[in-house]
Symmetry: none
Subunit: 199 residues, 4 copies
Amino acid sequence: MPRHPDIRQLLIDAALALFAERTYEGTQMPAVAARAGVGVGSIYRHFASKEALGNAAFQDAKRDLRARLIAATAEPAVSTRAQFTQFWSGFTGFASSRPEAFAFLEHQQHDTFLDEDSRALAAELDQMAADFIEHGQRAGAIRDGEPRLLVALALGALAGLLRAIRPATVTDIPPVERDRAEEAIWSLLSASPLSAKDS
Amino acid sequence: MPRHPDIRQLLIDAALALFAERTYEGTQMPAVAARAGVGVGSIYRHFASKEALGNAAFQDAKRDLRARLIAATAEPAVSTRAQFTQFWSGFTGFASSRPEAFAFLEHQQHDTFLDEDSRALAAELDQMAADFIEHGQRAGAIRDGEPRLLVALALGALAGLLRAIRPATVTDIPPVERDRAEEAIWSLLSASPLSAKDS
Amino acid sequence: MPRHPDIRQLLIDAALALFAERTYEGTQMPAVAARAGVGVGSIYRHFASKEALGNAAFQDAKRDLRARLIAATAEPAVSTRAQFTQFWSGFTGFASSRPEAFAFLEHQQHDTFLDEDSRALAAELDQMAADFIEHGQRAGAIRDGEPRLLVALALGALAGLLRAIRPATVTDIPPVERDRAEEAIWSLLSASPLSAKDS
Amino acid sequence: MPRHPDIRQLLIDAALALFAERTYEGTQMPAVAARAGVGVGSIYRHFASKEALGNAAFQDAKRDLRARLIAATAEPAVSTRAQFTQFWSGFTGFASSRPEAFAFLEHQQHDTFLDEDSRALAAELDQMAADFIEHGQRAGAIRDGEPRLLVALALGALAGLLRAIRPATVTDIPPVERDRAEEAIWSLLSASPLSAKDS
DNA sequence: TATGAATGAGGATTCATTCAT
DNA sequence: AATGAATGAATCCTCATTCAT
C-alpha cells in the first residue's frame, strides 16, 4: 500500500496538467514525477509505462466527465432547452473543477497512444451527447442535421471558448458572458427561433 | 540550383500534415523528410532546426488563411449575414484545400515552440475576426458579448466540425449538411431574430 | 546516491586521456563513456555537454598542476637553480603521475572550446611561471629576455620531451637522461655562466 | 587542367591554416573550400578525401621545411654553433613564411589520419636533426644525451616560443629577443660552457 | 516501498561525400 | 571542369525505463 493515500491520483492529475500544457509527447516522465512530488521510479509502481499512464489519465478524465453529465442530467428536465442547461452545467462544472483534464480531453484526436478502452469510453460519451441531440430533434427543439456533427459543433465551440480564456476557467468569466455563451451555443443547436417555443 | 523546384514548400506541407496528425512534439525529423521524399539532411539546408520548421509551417498556414480571408471578403457585402458567408467560404475553402494546415492551426494552443513572429501573425488573424464581430455588433446583427469570445466560439465550432469528419474535408460533406453547419454557426453569432436589424 | 563512488572523476580522466590522444574534436562522447566504463547517458548527469566536460577536464588538470607546483615550491629555496629544481619536480611529478593530463594541457592553444574560467586558470599558471623567471632575472641567475617567452621556451622544451617519449613517462627515462634534460632546460634559462651571480 | 593554375596549392594552404587553427577533426571541408575560394565539390577533384587532403597538406609542409633546412645547411659551416644558426634560420625562415604550416606540423602527434608516406617524411626530418646533434656531440660541442631527446627539447622550445607569440610570427619579434631565443636554445644544446669554445 | 542514478535506444543535427547541372 | 544542393552515416544529446539501495 502506497505511503501516500493516493499517489495514483496525484500522478494522474500531474500528468493531465502537463499533457494539457505541453502535449503527451512533449511531457517527460521525470516532469510528471516532479509535479506529483514523487520520485520517477514511483510512477512505475503505479503504471506500467508512459502509455499506460496516458490512458489512465484519459480514462480518469472521461469517467469524471461522464459522472458529472449523468449527475447533471439525472433529474428529468421539462424541455430540451432545460436539458441543454443540464448538459451545459455538467460540462462547465467539469471544465472549471478540472480545467487541465478538460483541456487534455479536447485535444485527443491526436490520440496515437490511446488504447481500446480509452476509445470505447470516448465513444460512449459521444453517444450520450448524440442521444441528447437526437431526442431534441425528435422533439422539434434541435435543428436538423447529422447528430454527431451537431455535437462536434457544440463541443468545439465550448472547447474554443475555454481555450480562449485559458488559463482562466469558466467560473472566472463574468456571469453575463457565461450566460451569453450558453445562449449562443444553444442557438447553434436550436431549431429555427420561430419553432423554439418548446425549448 | 535546387534539383527540386520547391523542397521548402514540400517540407512545410509534409510537416503540416504530420504535425496535425501526431503533434509537433510527436513528429520526428526523419518522418518529415520521408513524407517530403527527401533526405533528412536536406531539411537543414532549408530550416535551421525543428523549431524553425515548425514556425515556418505555422506562418505558411496562417498567411495562406489570411490571404484567403482577405480575398473572400474583398467584395463589399450587403449585410452582416452575407459578410459571414464570405468568411465562412474563406475558412472552408482553406480547410478543404489544405485540411492538414487547418487542423494544425486549430491545435496551436500547445504552442511551446511558436516564436514572436508566429504569435504576431496569429494575433493579426484573431483581430480580423474580432473586427468582423464588432462591426456586426454595431450593426445590431451579431449578439452582444466580448468579440474575442464569440470568435473563439465560432472558430471552435468549425474546428470541432472538421475534427469530427476527419480525414474527410468540408467539401466531402453533403451540401445540405454543410449549409446547416453554416447556418448553425451563424445562429451562434447572430443577434436574437427579434432584435436583428439587418441580418 | 551514486552507485559508483566517483563517476565524475572517472569521466574526467577518460576524457583527458582521449583528448590527449585524439584531440577534443576527434573524441566522441560514446568513446569517453566506454573508457570510463559507464553508459553514454551517465556523462550527461555529470556534465551538461561535451564542451562542459572539456572545460571541467582542462580545469581539473590545471588545478592539479597548480597544486603540485605550489607544494613543490613551498619550501624556501637557497638559489634560483634550486628553485628551478622545485619547479622541475613539480612539472615532472605531474607529468609522470598524470601523463595524459599533461599532454592534454600542452595542446590547448587549439582551445576552441575553453571558457572564461579555463582561460583564467591558464593565465594564473602562466603568471606563476613568469614570476619565477622575473625573480631569477632580478637575482642575475636567469638570462635577460621577455619572461613569458622564456617560460614558453622552457615549457615547450619539456612538452617536446614528453611528447617524444610517449607513451612512456618521465619516470621511465633513465635517471641520467632525466638529469641531463633538467640541466639542458636550466641552461636554456640560466644567465651566461660568466654573468651568473647566484646560480 | 584546372582553370586556376594552382587550386591544389590554394586548398593545401587553406587546409593548413584551418587545421592549425582548429584541429584537423575540427575543420569541415566546406570551410576549407570557402577559405580557398572554391566550391566544395572542387576539393574532390584534387583530393580523394579529407584524409588525403590532410596528408597532402602535411607532406607539403614537411617537404617545404626539408627544402629550407637543406638550403640553409648547404654551405659548409665552420663550427657546430654556426651550423646551429643555419638550422635556426631554416626553421625560423619556414616558421615566418608559413606560420600555419609550422603550427600545424607542431601538432602532429595527434596524427590519427597520417599515412605511411607522411610518417616516413616526418621520420626523415627527425633524422636530419638527430644527425646534426650526433655530429655536434662527436665534435664535443653538444651536450651528451640521447640525440632524439635533445632534438625534442630544442624543437619543443621553438614550438613553445612560436605558440606563445601567435598570431605574430618570428619576424615580428624584436631582433634582440629573437637572438636571445636562439642563444637560449643553443644553450639548451651546447656542451658545458667551458668546453663551448669550439662552438 | 520509494527512490533517483544509471542506462541505451532513439531523436535532432552535422558534415564528408556525391552527382546533376 | 566547377559547382553546391542533396544525402545519410555518424555525432551529440534526451528520456523512458530499470534496479541497487
